[in-house]
């Protein structure tokens, strides 16, 4: 067994590199947090809004319902691309008062986007969307080949 001369400086250099990295990471987290990026750029808490969706299948159509209270119907866009239904839009905050005068602020604002793959082909030209009482109802008629068929089998 060879004897190696102990150099304290080498230890100081070798093992703390891990610690230095961790230290750097912690500093970064603290900096990000206290810089207030999370709170002040206006996106925190806004981008997380996902409106609730229901999808029901009927014999001849799919019916999609989306809860969109306070969303103007001009701010909603519904698109269909190769069986993927996408609903996107924006709920705009009414600019009425200074933030300081708020007692409660629970309602969510901002942009949203939701996409769903439909289980069968629909008739793109017959899609209907109605907005009433804060609910967007999209009716997507199934394509002929996707409708349930009743086939009579001759019993011999």
């Amino acid at each position: 067994m060879a004897l190696v001369r102990w150099t304290p400086s080498r230890e100081l250099i070798s093992w703390p590199t891990e610690l230095v990295n961790i230290q750097r990471e912690i500093n970064r987290i603290f900096e990000d947090f206290f810089r207030g990026d999370l709170m002040d750029d206006g996106t925190f808490g806004l981008s997380v809004w996902t409106p609730a969706v229901d999808i029901a299948e009927h014999d001849n159509e799919y019916v999609v319902k989306v809860e969109l209270p306070g969303v103007s119907k001009d701010d909603v866009k519904v698109t269909l691309e190769s069986n993927i239904l996408t609903i996107r839009g924006e709920k705009k905050r009414e600019k009425e008062t200074e933030k300081d005068n708020y007692h409660r602020m629970e309602r969510m604002y901002g942009s949203f986007q939701r996409s769903f793959t439909l289980p069968s082909t629909v008739r793109a030209d017959k899609i209907d969307a109605v907005y009433k009482d804060g609910i967007l109802t999209i009716t997507l008629p199934k394509a002929e080949e996707a409708k349930p068929k009743q086939i009579e089998v001759k019993v011999k």
Partner: protein, 132 residues
């Protein structure tokens, strides 16, 4: 829960009606509350609520909002995806300070957002003092 409900609807109309009575969920709607110089303003998200289904009650110190959502259970064939509580009543109570004038309440609904404006009593209104 969803599965259970679908099973019940197959038992016939009686079962559906019974189910409807039994499982109405009470949901607390999201609200924004702010004040202006002469009023308090409350905004509540009530998706699925028609204007005539809202019961707004105000008494000294207390304001309650109750709104029923028309259920759409029976028309459904097969639920593929469910996030919306199907059968619910929105209910929320607000405590009002002494400076809220319960004789000066106005409410209107637009795009399922109920806006309630409660005037402040004369003595509570903010006064802008002119600088001499």
């Amino acid at each position: 829960m969803g599965k259970n409900r679908v099973a019940l609807t197959r038992l016939g109309e009686h079962a559906v009606v019974k189910q409807r009575e039994e499982s109405v969920a009470t949901v607390k709607p999201f609200a924004d509350v702010y004040e202006t110089d002469d009023a308090y303003v409350l905004k509540l998200d009530l998706p699925g609520v028609a204007k005539d289904k809202i019961d707004l009650t105000i008494q000294p110190g207390r304001l309650t909002v109750r709104a029923a959502v028309e259920p759409y259970v029976s028309e459904e064939k097969r639920v593929l995806f469910r996030e919306i509580t199907p059968n619910k009543v929105y209910y929320r109570e607000f405590h009002l300070g002494e400076d809220a004038d319960h004789n000066k309440v106005e409410a209107h609904i637009e795009d399922a957002v109920l806006t309630i404006t409660i005037g402040k009593t004369e003595s509570a209104k903010a006064k802008h003092v002119p600088i001499q």
